[in-house]
Amino acid sequence: MLAFVIKRCIQSVVVLFVMSLIVFSMINLVGDPVDMLVNPESLPEEIDRVRRDFGLDQSVQVQYWKFLTGAVSGDLGNSFIFGRPALALIAERFPATLELATCALILAVSVGLPLGIYAGLNPDGWGARIVMGGSVLGISIPTFWLGLMMIIIFSVLLGWLPVSGRGETENFLGIESSIFTVDGLRHLVLPAINLALFKISMVIRLTRAGVEEVMALDFIKFARARGLSSPRIIRSHLLPNIFIPIVTVLAIEFGTLIAFATVTESVFAWPGVGKLVIDAIVNLDRPIVVAYLLFVVTLFLVLNLIVDIIYAAIDPRVRLQGDR
């Protein structure tokens, strides 16, 4: 186990390094951030001064070396536009994204799991057909368009919920979140449902497949033969067996939710990291793009490592590489 973790950590550092190298060298080929920063009518000396101030007059190699030495000590550079450390900006915006992704995940599990189990247990019923048909539509519907339609229906036509933003937040037990205020909740409902819908459909499909697979196995037949009641079979024989794959998938899906939040945040103007990075891409704010990328890559590497470890811990049949 330890050998596996060490090996994976070394691999992660290599991936991070290669990523930073590729991203840093390629991002310097797109556009000129100075154009976005200074008034086009300013004097050439002024433009040169800005270029020097941001270190953009130096070669890419020199810039990369500066970035790398800074990165080792935890400094990923200052945003061109905000003039503040990029990492601090991301850390500031991340709780909003985390909140959105967590709510969406909770929704996905609490709606998707029961529906999936129901569809798996009654595969030929009308209810199951509706659930499965709905899940295909849920996977096919483009998230951003659904968000727009939700705004048109619930905010513009009916006027029930606010159009955009995060609303009031309140500090409870050290967590600053909008789920503790009514206004915050009203702002959260639409984005959370919007982000969750795709995952709900995915959880339904995964759960149903799992239920159908397990229900066909021998130990379920033996449990039936022993005369156990259906609820008992479901509770103590079916559920523990379908949970392992679902839990591991969900851990990875949490990462995808954070990535997908970029789309939902742009539609609902939710002040999270996703919106920050989209604005940064459009405005050529390179340090934020690079910092966000390294941040997300680290997040995914850590999540994947945790998943692999949990997987090996739950399922004794899995052997980790390097453990042989």
Binding site: V15, V23, M26, I27, L29, V30, G31, G133, V136, L137, I139, S140, I141, P142, T143, F144, W145, L148, M149, I151, I152, V156, V163, I252, G255, T256, A259, F260, T262, V263, S266, I278, I281, V282, V289, L293, V296, V297, F300, L301, N304
Partner: protein, 299 residues
């Protein structure tokens, strides 16, 4: 003797189950829809009432007409017009064309690269295999939308760049699937026989391994096409994909985003329905295809 009738019966049963699965209304509807979408996209310039990108025809006087109103030159705008006076129906047809071209081009090229990598990995095994699959694993541990977003941040806007990004996003999935099938085929006798005949590696891969490893890819390629239409639309909506001057379903919806608060719902609604219907039709059709090509059912 007794086993023969039993076998025949199960055979007939699975076959009729298959026929039933394929004649389900959802299969027929999705198939017809898919056919219509392809026709509309291919012949967009012939079918569309106006050319929304011909500046000599488009007039700002027609801006934001509601569905069914008459445009300045007398043509009826069945689905309304957008802020610049372009007919939404025509714009959708042209947009669908761009979206499908992007999705199909990227799918075909990614499939080709995936085949090459997957077959190479499966055939040579050893170090080459573990090196290639490590790259695939690392790439697939990140969500497609994120990889595409980052690539476009690095490459800039444009149809060609979206295609490149979608190829890079997709090749790994194909490579992994091809390798999984090919590695099973690799151990079979006919490959051994071909190796004994001292056929070249290229010939064995091309003539023997490839034809036997391709069927799981058909379903995957169908579903991936739906996925890449979605990704392209999302990227264009976020403003990093196809630029607004080139019509794609995503950029049309993004264009309508500015008008939703003023009540001009049709500029976003109709392109979105088209996008949704196309993706759903491909997904449902792919799902049915999976059932049909499933070896457990076609035995």
């Amino acid at each position: 003797m007794q086993t023969i009738p039993i076998r025949m019966r199960t055979n007939r049963k699975t076959r009729s189950a298959m026929r039933e699965k394929f004649s389900q209304p959802s299969t027929v509807v999705s198939g017809v829809l898919l056919f219509l979408v392809t026709i509309c996209a291919t012949f967009a310039p012939l079918i569309a009432p106006t050319n929304p990108y011909d500046l000599s025809v488009v007039s700002i006087m027609d801006g934001r007409l509601a569905p069914g109103e008459k445009m300045f030159d007398g043509t009826v705008a069945w689905l309304g017009t957008d802020g610049a006076g372009r007919d939404v129906l025509s714009a959708i047809l042209f947009g669908l064309r761009t979206s499908l071209i992007v999705a199909v081009c990227s799918a075909v090229i990614a499939l080709f690269i995936g085949l090459l990598v997957g077959l190479t990995a499966a055939f040579f095994g050893g170090r080459i295999d573990s090196f290639l699959m490590r790259i695939v694993d690392i790439q697939l541990s990140f969500p497609a939308i994120l990889v595409a977003l980052v690539l476009l941040a690095l490459l800039g806007k444009g149809i060609d760049k979206v295609i490149i990004a979608l190829i890079i996003v997709q090749w790994a999935i194909y490579a992994r699937t091809v390798r999984a099938t090919a590695i099973v085929e690799r151990r079979k006798e006919y490959i051994e026989a071909a190796t004994c005949l001292r056929l070249s590696s290229f010939r064995i891969i091309w003539k023997h391994l490839l034809p036997n490893s391709i069927s799981p890819l058909i379903v995957l390629a169908t579903l991936q096409t739906a996925h890449s239409i979605s990704i392209e639309a999302t990227l264009s909506f976020l403003g990093v994909g196809v630029p607004i001057t080139e019509p794609s379903l995503g950029s049309l919806i993004s264009n309508g985003f500015d008008y939703i608060l003023s009540g001009a719902y049709w500029i976003t609604l109709f392109p979105g329905i088209m996008l949704f219907a196309t993706v759903a039709a491909i997904n449902i059709f792919g799902d049915r295809l999976r059932v049909l090509l499933n070896p457990r059912l076609s035995k």
